[in-house]
């Protein structure tokens, strides 16, 4: 409710201009000059930095990591990131995934097999994730893109009105069209040539990477007391998406 606006704005303005990847010989020379303890310490700092940033579910830019944590260890950046990735996989079962190759932005996704009891999104237990899950399922069942009015109507039936302040979620429209979009769970795209302006919703990149469509279909199936296979098109898409996610 009170986003740390000033810090966010500064982070967004960071540009990756000054950073070029060091060569492997440069990296080796850099490593030779440091003690193992120094390198380990830096790896630990990067891991902590990323975990804290990930709490907000915002993508993190390479420029930020270099500027705020790596600093003078820039010349061994590839080696640090290699070890950071290893730590995330080995200790946390997480993986850093690049979602923006141009700006070098990353998110942390769960690498473990889907927890049979809880689909990934639900694990934080936050009511927001339930709301998001409902929206994602609506978009998915409708073929991957829906007019915003469809989403608002569904939510209204669940007594979550985008026009009113909600007891739990506050400004619902802001949460759905801004926060969830910033976190890359949803995409909120303007439909051109519409007057008044209309938008459509799609799954965001983070949702694509983190949410199992198979699980989602099972969830919807349970809601309607139907076998997921009844929805053939969605079922095929879900199985295909599962294969893709498995290759992460």
């Amino acid at each position: 409710m009170f986003p740390n606006k000033s810090i966010e704005m500064v982070m967004e303005e960071e540009e990756d201009v000054s950073f070029t990847q060091p060569s492997s010989s440069q990296v080796q020379r850099g490593l030779d000059r440091l003690t193992p303890a120094q390198v380990d310490q830096k790896v630990a700092e990067v891991v902590q930095f990323i975990l804290i940033k990930d709490q907000k579910k915002l993508p993190m830019k390479r420029a930020d990591i270099v500027k705020h944590v790596i600093k003078e260890y820039k010349n061994i950046y590839p080696e640090i990131m290699k070890r950071v990735n290893m730590k995330f996989e080995k200790v946390f079962g997480l993986k850093l995934v690049e979602i923006d190759a141009k700006n070098h932005a990353y998110i942390l996704v769960n690498k473990l097999e889907q927890d049979p009891q809880q689909p990934d999104l639900m694990s934080s237990g936050h009511p927001k994730t339930g709301l998001l899950f409902v929206i994602l399922s609506v978009i998915f069942m409708k073929g991957g893109v829906v007019k915003e009015s469809v989403v608002w109507n569904v939510l209204k039936k669940l007594r979550v009105d985008q026009g009113e302040k909600h007891e739990e979620f506050g400004d619902v429209k802001k949460l759905v069209t801004e926060e969830f979009v910033r976190q890359r769970y949803l995409e909120y795209i303007r439909i051109p040539h519409t007057e008044p302006q209309e938008h459509e919703f799609r799954w965001g990149l983070r949702a694509e990477k983190e949410v199992s469509k198979v699980k989602m279909l099972e969830f919807v199936g349970q809601l309607h007391a139907q076998d997921p296979q009844v929805w053939t098109k969605q079922y095929k898409e879900a199985r295909a998406a599962e294969g893709e996610r498995g290759q992460l």
Partner: protein, 291 residues
């Protein structure tokens, strides 16, 4: 599981134990899943942690033979080089056991800083000041509102302050009861190092369990000043007709609350169970609930 003094000493002794004992069990997906879940929650109550442990073992095909403590030890051996640990702590109000994932190297309120603005963090620190200064580890909402009016970063109006406080409670950094705020178990466990560094002698440890004590009873002997957590006092003085200060032997005049001594609670504090004498049931005044 041994309960030691200051958190850093606890961590160090476990490090030594780990390295001298050789390889701990290998990390499996069930360990990783447990870590992900505790990371999401920040802190988990003991029975919840045990349930999650069981679930993770079942979900990822690990045999659920080992104790939770051994399971956590395995994770901790991997977290150690990252300056993180899963620690056990006790809630000051109910004496329940909790598991929390904490940063060992923190010298500030780091974990909170991504979620709160600068003036909100300042308000939290001011609230902590009030709690440290108080006798019973509480800060009234009135006092906190007064602080909000004189923040150095940027002042906060009443409505905004109330909303920030509400968020702090929701995020489990503060507890609130009848308009009085206390530090949550999560805050105490997460920020132990920061608290000790910042307040030093102003912060006392419980004479029974040796952890930082905020919500506590103090010895009525002015020159003694020993503090005991309310749940620790409940266990230590249980059944005693004549409770005495463990340090100066002055009569312990506070109401001793009547609490269930669960096996988990005693495990946290082996001393109490050995000192518990088999005195006949105390008179009515002893078992009356305090407050």
């Amino acid at each position: 599981m041994k309960k030691n003094a200051a958190g850093s000493r606890f961590v160090l002794s476990r490090w030594r134990k780990e390295t001298s004992a050789g390889m701990a069990a290998a990390m499996s997906d069930s360990h990783r899943r447990f870590l992900q879940i505790i990371m999401c929650h920040g802190i988990m109550e003991g029975s919840q942690a045990r349930a999650v442990h069981q679930h993770c073992c079942q979900a990822y095909g690990t045999q659920h033979t080992r104790s939770l403590d051994e399971f956590v030890d395995t994770i901790n051996s991997q977290l150690q080089p990252l300056f993180m640990q899963i620690r056990k702590g006790m809630s000051e109000d109910e004496g329940l056991q909790y598991y929390a994932l904490v940063n060992v190297a923190d010298t500030d309120v780091t974990k909170m800083s991504s979620d709160y603005a600068a003036n909100e963090l300042e308000l939290f620190r001011k609230t902590m000041d009030l709690i440290v200064d108080s006798e019973n580890g509480t800060a009234s909402s009135t006092d906190i509102l007064n602080c909000a009016d004189s923040l150095q970063t940027s002042k906060m109006k009443k409505k905004e302050t109330e909303q920030v406080l509400s968020r702090l409670v929701q995020d489990k950094w503060l507890n609130e009861k009848h308009g009085e705020y206390t530090l949550s178990t999560r805050s105490i466990m997460e920020m132990e190092q920061y608290i000790r560094n910042t307040y030093q002698d102003l912060v006392k440890s419980c004479a029974i369990c040796h952890n930082i004590a905020f919500q506590s009873q103090m010895c009525s002997n002015q020159s003694c000043g020993v503090k005991i957590h309310i749940p620790c006092a409940a266990r230590y003085y249980k059944g005693r007709a004549d409770p005495r200060c463990p340090k100066c032997s002055e009569f312990w005049s506070h109401e001793i609350p009547d609490m269930q001594t669960s096996s988990q609670a005693t495990a946290l504090n082996p001393r109490a169970s050995t000192k518990d004498n088999a005195a006949p049931a105390a008179s009515g005044s002893q078992s009356r609930r305090s407050r």
